[in-house]
């Protein structure tokens, strides 16, 4: 049953400071709404528990992409369309452009924000694997000030995050250190547009003289939260990757992935299918490194 909109309140302060004051006055009383592509679906389905909402969609201070020589800072209110349109993200962080391009339809990308995707905390969300591979840092803001934390520490469990009730994500920072890295991204779902993934992987590798100098693998739907496959990375890091070693390397990597992935059965897929497909994606990624 759809909710009755008149049972809900929504306010739209003009400035970031005013929003933070409202969140601080009675922490937990107000819930932010950015693009609304999660919140409004919950409202439509009659399962939006929060009755008091504060819009942050109109706050210009949260919607920006700023580039310095060493880093890229993305405002939390940046939409997926903004991300797709950014030449610098395309060149330095192609995994993020890729993730934005398959986050729902064009209409969804015009509204949905990076901050909303992160805070919603779905283990199947599309941008987290890329942000994990790039080792993003979050800046959180409240009337108490700002604090930074590695994005890898943000998700605490299924839809549980380190965000305090009076805080917003202000921005996401990425270091521009990935020149020479080979990207790999693949989302497996029922269709490209609109479908939430069954499994997805966003990965990066740096190869020098046939050695895997560095490797980072972000994954969706393999745990109760977006996750990085650190054990699998350790198995691979520093190894020689050539025609002679690849078969052994793949079997070692598949075995490790199987031990560290804990997928679930749900309406979209089964745990068994997810684990098998994730291992196949990893194999495809490693093969792609042989002929970059």
């Amino acid at each position: 049953m759809r909710s009755n909109a008149s049972h809900y309140d929504l306010i739209a302060p003009a400035t970031l400071d005013a929003v933070l004051e409202i969140l601080a006055a009675e922490p937990g009383h107000y819930t932010p709404i950015a693009g609304g592509t999660e919140i409004m679906v919950a409202l439509g389905a009659g399962r939006l528990a929060q009755k008091n909402l504060v819009s942050i969609n109109q706050i210009k201070e949260l919607r920006f992409i700023e580039t310095t020589p060493s880093q890229l800072i993305i405002g939390s209110g940046t939409t997926f369309t903004d991300i797709r349109n950014s030449a610098i993200i395309q060149s330095d962080f192609p995994l993020l452009t890729q993730a934005a391009s398959w986050t729902g339809s064009i209409a969804n990308q015009n509204r949905g924000t990076l901050g909303g995707n992160i805070v919603n905390g779905s283990p199947a969300a599309d941008s987290p694997p890329a942000l994990l591979a790039y080792e993003a840092t979050l800046t959180l803001i409240s009337t108490r000030g700002t604090r930074q934390m590695p994005y890898a520490d943000f998700h605490l469990g299924y839809k549980k995050t380190a965000l305090a009730p009076d805080e917003l994500i202000q921005s996401i920072t990425l270091k521009r250190i990935f020149t020479g890295y080979i990207p790999y991204a693949r989302k497996v779902g029922t269709r490209n547009a609109q479908a939430i993934s069954k499994v997805a992987i966003a990965a990066l590798a740096l190869i020098q003289d046939d050695t895997l100098e560095d490797i980072r693998i972000g994954a969706a739907s393999l745990r109760d939260r977006p996750s990085r496959l650190t054990a699998t990375e350790r198995t691979l890091r520093g190894q020689t990757i050539t025609q002679d070693t690849i078969v052994t390397l793949i079997s070692q990597a598949r075995a490790t992935l199987t031990t560290e992935a804990h997928p679930i059965d749900d309406i979209r897929s089964t745990a068994k299918y997810r684990a098998a497909v994730a291992a196949n994606l990893l194999e495809e990624f490693l093969h792609s490194l042989m002929n970059p």
Partner: protein, 159 residues
């Protein structure tokens, strides 16, 4: 109730509505603009598509208050975008001619999505058309005739 003012199809309007009321319901119930349809009510089907500040959006996912100050175009306002006293926009004409509309439920959304697409890619490839319309579901046409209508509209506006 909150007063919300926006420009819709070039006319300034003020409505009194609960701020979380869906823009789709404001359009249909308060303004009697019934071109935008409700298919799914959850962002999946695109039958509620409108242009908000020039961007294609699903009006079922927009709280009324977030439309404050915005410029909105619905299917009712699309023809005058081509010429002031035009009855049908060239895109609408092409949908008619190519059989791109059957029951018509998806059609307002398809036409607004096409308008948005052709602004970005005046000569879209089939793949760009498919991506541009991927958020708009049609139960009748099988899509082929819709793609033909879009291609025909593209070739007319850019001879």
């Amino acid at each position: 109730m909150t007063q919300i003012t926006f420009t819709i199809n070039k006319e300034k309007k003020t409505v009194e509505a609960p701020p979380m009321k869906r823009l789709l319901d404001v359009l249909r119930e308060d303004l009697h603009l019934t071109g935008a349809k409700e298919g799914c009510g959850e962002g999946e089907c695109g039958s509620c598509s409108v242009l908000l500040n020039g961007e294609l959006v699903n009006s079922c996912l927009i709280p009324a208050l977030q439309a404050e100050g915005a410029t909105i175009t619905t299917i009712e306002g699309i023809a005058p975008l081509a010429a002031p006293d035009q009855k049908l926009h060239p895109i609408q004409q092409c949908f008619l001619e190519k059989g791109g509309a059957q029951c018509g439920i998806c059609t307002p959304g398809m036409i607004l999505a096409t308008h948005h697409l052709l602004e970005k890619y005046p000569q879209p490839t089939l793949l760009q058309i498919q991506e541009g319309l991927a958020g708009n579901l049609c139960r009748c046409t099988g899509y082929t005739r819709i793609f033909e209508a879009v291609q025909s509209a593209a070739s007319q506006s850019n001879p």
